[in-house]
């Protein structure tokens, strides 16, 4: 049995390599459209989602959804095929990078508007008595959307098993947190009577511990929870310009790369195995996608 740590490392490493590969593929013209990578943020996906059961629990994610998708579904192949517009893609090429659906996983590219849908899902799962926890991931910038507060209110009133995870990477596209987020993030949820937790580390083991208590609490009480996680993205918002101070990015890369943070805790051999397997898996998935039929290539 693999340890939690090895599993985190494996997931984060696959996600990292997957997204680095996507950026390469973009440059190589193998993908068009857009992509939002979570390079640097892998710990939130791995740490939180390891508590969820993809057969029972539900995730609604946003534009930056690749990490969540892979951590929950392990479907590297479907994702690469989807963003390369293959018939074998998760949604047959229709959705693309930010509109994924597979099993209990959904994502959509309209900021904030995913929260009401997740709230409805949590309501459905409560009624079905499935025991599911519904998790919705939002960014710090998405705290600007009013729908979030409408849903915090309803989730609290109706006691819904909903977990809102704020991945605070301190920027919304080009906008720093201080220009978009006033007051206190956790106090915003607490004001609706929702319990909150806030942590300021990108160490996946700590995130895992915090998320564990949160999920446990939701399962025990059936009530919502609001979790704020500190993180940082190392790559640009989508593929283009990055207006952040390069020194800031370098500093965060040095201090809080979630993969580097735990690398030393693993047995070097195991680690090398994990890395090699991940490299191979992503390379194979890329190759398979490019070899698969292009969606819409042959017209009826």
């Amino acid at each position: 049995m693999t340890s939690d740590l090895a599993r985190f490392y494996q997931q984060m490493y696959v996600i990292r390599r997957l997204e680095e590969t996507l950026l390469e593929m973009f440059s190589a013209g193998e993908i068009n459209g857009t992509t939002h990578t979570c390079i640097g943020q892998e710990a939130t996906a791995a740490g939180v989602i390891s508590h969820l059961d993809s057969e029972r629990d539900v995730i609604f994610s946003n534009h930056r959804c690749h990490g969540h998708y892979v951590a929950f579904t392990d479907d590297v192949e479907g994702l690469i095929a989807e963003v390369t517009g293959r018939t074998t893609g998760t949604c047959g090429g229709k959705g693309g990078s930010q509109h994924l659906c597979r099993g209990n996983f959904y994502s959509n590219g309209i900021q904030g508007s995913i929260v009401p849908v997740a709230t409805g899902i949590a309501l459905a799962e409560r009624e079905r008595k499935s025991g599911a926890v519904t998790t919705v991931f939002i960014g710090d910038g998405t705290l600007g959307q009013g729908a979030l507060y409408e849903c915090l209110n309803m989730a609290s009133l109706w006691r819904l098993p909903l977990m809102v995870v704020v991945e605070n990477n301190h920027y919304a596209q080009s906008t720093p947190e201080e220009l978009a987020v006033s007051g206190s993030i956790s106090a915003r949820a607490a004001a609706f009577g929702i319990p909150t937790a806030e942590i300021t580390t990108t160490d996946v083991e700590e995130i895992h511990a915090t998320a564990g208590s949160a999920v446990e609490r939701i399962r025990a009480t059936g009530e919502p929870f609001f979790m704020v996680l500190d993180t940082y993205r190392f790559s640009p918002h989508s593929k283009g310009d990055d207006t952040r101070d390069p020194a800031e990015i370098e500093a965060r890369r040095a201090s809080s790369d979630p993969i580097a943070l735990i690398a030393d805790r693993l047995d070097p051999e195991l680690r090398a195995d994990i890395e090699q397997a991940a490299e191979r898996r992503v390379a194979d998935a890329r190759e398979a996608a490019l070899a698969a039929p292009v969606a819409g290539a042959v017209q009826a």
Partner: protein
């Protein structure tokens, strides 16, 4: 047998659907008994099924998403939006969520939800509580827009909407609620013979002379039905001009067949709707019918609708702004000025 009022028929349909299926939920504002919704269509449901009627905060924008979430997970939510004007708050969920999920997720999901809402003016409620905004839904792919009228089987329409696997917007009308829900008896409602179309939300075609020769077809729906009937009656009595009236049940996708069928007989078409003229439902009907029945139309389609503007509160101003029987009559008479 005295007919029940439309509000009772809609309410009865909901009660029956709640009995028949346990995956039906009602969500919306002020739903709990004894209040039972602002227009009382939801009365008695929360007393019988307290767990399946969810009264909500005033959060329309999110309610559309909540309904979508429930539908994604196998329930059949019915969302009551208190006034049709408030659907504007849900447009993002409608356009970028509800109408997208099934197709963009490659048919892995369905969205069987119903949004029920009353539209229409003539009650002095003023600019933000009187509109007929269903026209704005016509441009949204992958949803259905269904219009209740007092001659439709409103119980059956409610069942059909709830059983539908696509998202349905069931457009009701404020003045309709209080009127009897008439149904044809031996093929007649009063003096009008009635043919019922096929399909899940059938259109009704009415004729004052048993489908004998007629000067024009009036296509309408919802709250404009009695106005069209009034105009047609006046045309018979005062001008000896006969019209057929097509009362649509399904606006989107547009139920073209019964319109074409009638236009095949009459050679002329008037569209009559309570919403404002520009980019109204009449525009789409005109475009489709003109293309499909080009050789059969004697004259261009004429559209009767509200003036493009705000619906005033003052009764006279409101009446001037909304289309009445006089406008429908005049549109018919104007078709063949020589003939009158």
């Amino acid at each position: 047998m005295r007919s029940e009022r439309c509000v009772q028929a809609l309410n009865g349909g909901l009660h029956e659907a709640f009995e028949r299926r346990d995956d039906v939920y009602l969500i919306g504002e002020d739903l709990l008994d004894p209040y039972g919704g602002a227009f009382k269509v939801s009365q008695g449901l929360s007393d019988r099924w307290p767990e399946r009627v969810i009264t909500t905060p005033i959060s329309e924008a999110s309610l559309f998403g909540v309904a979508a979430g429930m539908a994604l997970r196998g329930y059949r939510p019915v969302l009551e939006i208190m006034f049709g004007d408030f659907i504007a708050l849900g447009f993002d969920q409608i356009i970028n969520g509800i109408s997208k999920f099934r197709e963009m997720y490659d048919d892995q999901v369905t969205l069987p939800l119903v949004v029920r809402t009353p539209m229409g003016g003539r009650r002095g409620y003023g600019p933000t509580h009187s509109q007929s905004l269903e026209k704005l839904l016509m441009g949204v792919p992958n949803i259905r827009v269904v219009a209740a009228s007092e001659y439709h089987d409103l119980r059956a329409m409610t069942h059909a909407a709830i059983d539908d696997d696509e998202p349905v917007f069931l457009i009701e009308n404020k003045l309709m609620y209080g009127r009897p829900n008439r149904r044809p008896e031996n093929g007649y409602i009063d003096e009008l013979s009635v043919r019922e179309g096929s399909g899940t939300y059938p259109a009704l075609t009415l004729s004052g002379n048993d489908f004998g020769e007629a000067a024009a077809t009036i296509v309408t729906y919802g709250g404009m039905l009695p106005i069209a009937v009034e105009a047609a009656t006046e045309l018979i009595l005062e001008h000896e001009v006969f019209c057929e009236i097509v009362v649509l049940g399904e606006l989107l996708p547009l139920d073209l067949a019964p319109i074409l069928e009638s236009v095949g007989r009459t050679g002329a078409l008037i569209t009559a709707e309570e919403g404002t003229l520009t980019a109204g439902i009449g525009a789409e009907i005109t475009a489709q019918v003109t293309e499909a029945a080009w050789g059969q139309l004697r004259r261009p389609v004429r559209r009767v609708a509200a003036n493009d503007g705000v619906i005033p509160s003052a009764p006279n101003l409101e009446n001037m702004m909304l289309p009445g029987a006089g406008e429908v009559r005049d549109a018919v008479l104007a078709l063949d000025p020589a003939a009158v």
